[in-house]
């Protein structure tokens, strides 16, 4: 019988209302395994605001405070200050928000949280659109993706917003990308973040079957492909030092990743080639950052 590669304890219960195959629920499940029970979550409007089901239910075994859509960064700060004022020092405060709630409407309070050095963790689970309201585009939606507000004929004309670059510009002690298809890596990064003081940020890719238009059983395969095609690199930024945590020699062709998703089904060969070009350019830039910042002491 094989040894477990992630902690055994479950702090999430079944019976939640996540779609079958939901990546966002895996993000929470693994996050909680890395954090342990002495954790407080604050969550804005997003899929996770409805995940537990209606009052009086909750599907996580840690305190969970609902907050306003724009204000996750501020809510984190308030929780930390309140706990400090009451002498409670050993509870980790964590904001858990979607891509829309972080990169768009929540960007101001995220920046405030990062800039003021609040001692807490912010996790952005990224399903690349406003999924809870029915798949509308967000700043994190990739170029060329279908959403209900970027339908065929006008699929997303802008590139995906580089939230990690924005976070890194605040000079935080720790920021990292992770993907639900690599739970050991995700848990390890959460555990590492726990041991660091100051503002910490995790960007977790969470594939979404109805929003990305693929069969639910493919969630983990798709997450792996996102990473192995270099569309979603796994890396850390520690006080300015970039480290690629999953090195990939020659990435798989992005076409393999795109072909599995209905939201990219309309792409022409030229558009797929363009995406490949952009992925390659971004990867090269990331490698350059890793090289030039290798000597930076965080």
């Amino acid at each position: 019988m094989a040894r477990l590669t992630i902690p055994a304890e479950e702090l999430m219960t079944p019976g939640h209302l996540g779609c079958p195959g939901c990546g966002a629920t895996l993000a929470m499940r693994y996050l909680l395994k890395g954090l342990g029970p002495r954790t407080m979550l604050t969550v804005p409007a997003c899929c996770w605001a409805v995940m537990s089901g209606p009052f009086p239910r909750t599907c996580v075994e840690v305190p969970f405070l609902d907050c306003a859509f724009e204000a996750t960064g501020a809510s984190i700060q308030g929780l930390r200050a309140g706990l400090d004022a009451r002498g409670v020092k050993d509870v980790t405060v964590v904001g858990f928000a979607g891509d829309g709630g972080t990169a768009d409407i929540g960007l101001q309070s995220l920046s405030g949280f990062l800039e003021r050095g609040v001692d807490a963790i912010y996790v952005m689970y990224d399903n690349e659109a406003y999924m809870n309201t029915g798949v509308q585009r967000s700043g994190a939606t990739p170029w060329g993706a279908w959403t209900t507000t970027t339908p065929e004929g006008r699929t997303k004309p802008q590139e995906k917003k580089d939230i990690m670059a924005i976070v890194a510009a605040h000079n935080v002690p720790y920021a990292a990308t992770a993907c639900v298809a690599f739970p050991e890596d995700l848990v390890k990064k959460v555990e590492k973040a726990r041991g660091i003081r100051g503002p910490r940020f995790l960007h977790v890719l969470a594939p979404c079957p109805p929003g990305w238009k693929y069969a639910p059983e493919e969630t983990i395969r798709l997450g792996r492909l996102a990473v192995d095609t270099r569309v979603f690199p796994l890396y850390e930024v520690e006080g300015g030092r970039y480290t690629i945590t999953r090195k990939i020699g020659k990435g798989k062709p992005v076409a393999e990743y795109l072909a599995k998703q209905g939201r990219f089904g309309h792409l022409t060969e030229a558009e797929v080639a363009e995406i490949q070009r952009r992925v390659d350019a971004r990867w090269a830039k990331l490698e350059a950052l890793a090289r030039t910042t290798a000597e930076v002491t965080p």
Binding site: F55, V60, D66, A74, L79, A85, R86, S109
Partner: protein, 391 residues
């Protein structure tokens, strides 16, 4: 101890005396010296609290809500645009039953930009479930912040409260204030006890979403808190008098109303001017009185009806305009008077917007108008004839 304090520093001192644990605020004229005062006391080691800089008023109030959710006593302050920006969170604070106290310096809303006294900012929040006090002196500001914590934190209330002061007339004007000692305040205001604060040892979700089967009851629960607060406000005022030797008259303090032919209902510093004019007019043989509306929420129905029962004419001054038929105070006074035909004549007056000074002549004009036989139900006082916009 007697001190010369501005209204703003009365707020900061009250927050310190109340042993507030978390302060989160964003600067806006004319509130700024409240927060600067707190920052100075924190830096001097006199005020041990978590002092949070935030990047907007919306975030300031969210930070207070979240800090309160884990049982900390919180304070914030704002004005005008900042209060409007907080609007969404005002509903969150009352809906979650967080006993936050907020100082609001009443300032006009843009556009056009104006930093001067006007109550539209807070009147526009009357639907948000916050207890609302309007003060007319810096003593009252200090005392009311202390009272507000007692009221807000009472278990059957558990609602946030705002304590108002007029821009510049109070915020930046020095008045003598009797500041109680820390020991006196400690005896009056015990530490916050919040039995449902978030706790890792008893995990729960706080907020939720609700189906139609329960939402209405949840809102009724909040309404019950507001309903209960009226009585608590009076009780706390009484206790305050016993301990500190003074009070501010509860929800609707009356001046010369018993045999009045007309009474002016008014909030904020204009009440001081009104009392001054009422004395003058009484000396001239005109029987007028003043009812200061100190507590706007919860609306003091009983006190207003008791006044209406003995007075044939009421003038209601709204230092705000909310595009209804008459101002908000006018509407609420009229609404409380059960039967318009059986009760007093009620006329509404809009005055003092955007800092337009409410001078004795303004008040006199209102009394003269309400005492006159005929007149419009609602009018604006002090409006100038504008025949040509300035070039």
């Amino acid at each position: 101890m007697q001190r010369m304090l501005t209204g703003n520093h009365a707020q900061s001192l009250a927050a310190k005396l109340a042993r507030v644990q978390v302060v989160a605020a964003y600067p806006i004229t004319p509130q700024t010296t409240i927060v600067e005062g707190i920052a100075e006391m924190v830096a001097a080691g006199e005020f041990p609290c978590e002092f949070l800089e935030v990047e907007s008023e919306h975030s300031a109030l969210q930070a207070c809500i979240s800090a309160a959710a884990v049982g900390a006593r919180t304070y914030t302050a704002t004005s005008s645009q900042g209060l409007l920006l907080m609007h969404e969170l005002l509903h969150w604070a009352s809906g979650l039953r967080m006993p936050i106290v907020m100082g609001v310096v009443n300032r006009a809303v843009a556009p056009p930009w104006s930093i001067y006294a006007d109550h539209t900012d807070t009147v526009a929040q009357r639907d948000t479930g916050w207890i609302q006090y309007y003060c007319e002196s810096n003593q009252e500001v200090l005392d009311t912040v202390l009272q507000a914590y007692r009221v807000a934190e009472e278990f059957r209330v558990m609602l946030p409260a705002m304590v108002m002061e007029d821009a510049f007339y109070l915020s930046h004007t020095f008045e003598p204030v009797d500041a109680p000692s820390a020991e006196e305040v400690d005896a009056f205001l015990p530490p916050l006890e919040m039995p449902y604060a978030l706790d890792v040892d008893r995990p729960a979700r706080f907020g939720s979403f609700m189906a139609p089967d329960a939402y209405m009851e949840a809102r009724r629960n909040v309404a019950d808190g507001m309903e209960a607060s009226g009585r608590v406000i009076e009780d706390v005022e009484r206790e305050f008098r016993e301990r500190f030797g003074r009070d501010h008259g509860g929800a609707l303090p009356l001046f010369a109303c018993d045999d009045a032919d007309a009474v002016l209902v008014v909030s904020g510093t204009a009440a001081s001017t009104a009392r001054h004019v009422a004395r003058e007019m009484r000396a001239e043989g005109k029987r007028v009185g003043v009812a200061k509306l100190r507590v706007f929420r919860p609306w003091p129905v009983a006190a207003v009806r008791a006044l209406a029962a003995k007075v044939p004419r009421l003038a209601v001054l709204d230092r705000s305009f909310t595009f209804g038929f008459g101002g908000a105070l006018f509407q609420e006074v009229r609404n409380a008077v059960q039967s318009p035909r059986a009760g007093p004549l009620v006329r509404g007056y809009v005055a003092g917007l955007g800092g337009r000074d409410i001078v004795p002549a303004t008040i006199r004009a209102i009394f003269d108008d309400v005492l006159a036989k005929d007149g419009p139900e609602v009018s604006w006082v002090g409006l100038q004839e504008v025949t040509e916009w300035p070039a």
